[in-house]
Symmetry: C2
Subunit: 217 residues, 2 copies
DNA sequence: TCGATGCATCTTGTATGCATCATGTGTCCG
DNA sequence: CGGACACATGATGCATACAAGATGCATCGA
C-alpha cells in the first residue's frame, strides 16, 4: 500500500500497526508487544516503541509498563464521546461558515457539492471504498473551512476512531449509504442557504443516525 | 515539586523540557537537540527522544529530521486558534451543564464557588501562583463537567499553550486579576441560574479579555 | 572575486545489550 | 490440600554503539 520502503522504520511501524488496529486485524482487548511487531516488520524495537507511544497518544493503544500494549476496545462511552466531539467541532465549523462572507460559504458549498457528486457516483457503482473515502472527504472539508489547525487535528483523530467503530456496525445494508448521502445533501442545502441553525440540526440527525448504526439505539 | 527522582527518565525529560518551554526558559525559535537535554539531565538520548516526540504531538516542539527540535514560537494565529478552541469546548460544557438536571448543575456550581473562594483569597494575599492555579482549576472544573475524556484531554493541551502565551502578556498590572475574578463570578452566576446563553456570552467576554491581554487588541 | 566541491562536524535514526520489573509456575512446608 | 516463596520467563526502560543525512566552512579553480 504505502511503498514498502522509502519511509522511515518508525513510520512503517506506526502505519502498519495503526491500520491493523483500524481494520480489525488486531481486535480490541489484544495484548501485543514491541518485540512481536518488530519481528514482523523486520526492524528493531526502537522504532516500534515510538510508534506505540504515538498510538497511545491517539487513544488506540494503552501501554502497561513491563507488560505490553493493550489494543483498547471501543466502548459505548467512547462512541458517545467521539460523536459528541464530532458534533461539536463540525457544528462549530458550520456555524462559523454561515457567519462568514457569502463568498467563502459559496466556495465551500461548491467543494461539498463536488464531493457529493463523487459520493453519488460511488454509490451508483457500488464502490464501498470510494464511498467511504468521499464520506471522509465531506466531513473533513467542513472542518477545514473553520481554518483552525487545532480543531482539524483533533477531528482527524476522531475520524480514525470512528473508522474502527464502524467495523462492528450493525446496520450495513445498502439502505444506509443512501441515507448517508441524503443526510449530507440536507446539510449542504442548509449551509448553502446560510441557515446555521438548520445545518446544525441536520448534522445532529446525521450523527445520531451514525450512532444508531454503530451501537444500535 | 515532583520529587527529583521516583519518576522514569522519560517523565523527567518530558516534564523538565515542557516546563522550560512553558516558563520561557526556552524561548520560541530556539533549536535544541536531544543530546543537550540528555546531558543536562544526565541520562541517555533515548528517553529524551520520547519526550520530544510527545512534545511535538502537543504542538510545543517541531522536529526536523537530522537537524534538531525547534521550540515553536507562539504566533498570533495560534493564539486565535487556541482561544477559539477553548471557547468552543468550555462553551459546550456550559451549555451541556445548563441542560443537565438541576442537581448536577448545583454540584458543579458549588465546586466553582469553592474555587472562586480560593481565588479571591489568593488575590487578597497577592499570591500569583495560587491565583493562577485557581484559575486553571476553575476552567478545568467547567470542562470536566461535560464528562468527555476526549474534550478534557484537548483542553489540557490548550491550557498548556495558553500558559506560554501569557508570558508575553502585555497587561500584567494588579487590575487584571481582579477583572478575571469578576468575569469568573459572572459566568458562575449565569450558570447557577441555568441561563446557558448568558453563560456563553460571559465566557466569550472573558476569553476576549484574555486575548486582549495577550495580543493587545 | 565568486561559485563549486570536498571535508569536518553535528544530529538524528536504528540496532543491540543489559538491568529491572512484573508475572506465572513449581515446589515445599504447614 | 492450600498457601507462600523462589525462580524462570518475558517484557519493557534505558544506555550505548554505529550508520547515514544535513550543514557550514575551508579550499580550490575559473
Amino acid at each position: 500500500m504505502t511503498g514498502i520502503s522509502g519511509l522511515s522504520a518508525k513510520e512503517r511501524a506506526y502505519r502498519d500497526t495503526k491500520s491493523r488496529i483500524l481494520d480489525g486485524s488486531l481486535p480490541g482487548g489484544d495484548l501485543i508487544t514491541e518485540g512481536q511487531v518488530a519481528d514482523t516488520l523486520a526492524m528493531s524495537r526502537t522504532p516500534v516503541r515510538e510508534a506505540f507511544l504515538r498510538l497511545e497518544a491517539e487513544g488506540l493503544l494503552r501501554l502497561f509498563p513491563k507488560r505490553g500494549a493493550l489494543v483498547v476496545a471501543v466502548s459505548p462511552s467512547e462512541v458517545e464521546a467521539v460523536l459528541e466531539a464530532r458534533e461539536l467541532v463540525e457544528g462549530h465549523a458550520l456555524t462559523k461558515l454561515c457567519a462568514a462572507p457569502e463568498e467563502d460559504r459559496a466556495v465551500v458549498a461548491g467543494a461539498l457539492h463536488a464531493v457529493l457528486d463523487i459520493q453519488r457516483a460511488a454509490l451508483a457503482a457500488g464502490d464501498e471504498q470510494a464511498f467511504a473515502e468521499a464520506d471522509r472527504r465531506f466531513h473533513i472539508t467542513v472542518v477545514e473551512s473553520a481554518h483552525n489547525p487545532i480543531l482539524l487535528e483533533l477531528y482527524a483523530s476522531l475520524r480514525d476512531r470512528q473508522l474502527r467503530m464502524n467495523l462492528g456496525s450493525l446496520e450495513k445494508g445498502p439502505t444506509r449509504p443512501r441515507a448517508i448521502l441524503t443526510q449530507h445533501e440536507a446539510i449542504v442545502d442548509a449551509l448553502a442557504a446560510g441557515d446555521a441553525e438548520e445545518a446544525r440540526v441536520r448534522l445532529r440527525v446525521h450523527l445520531d443516525a451514525t450512532r444508531v448504526s454503530v451501537v444500535g439505539r
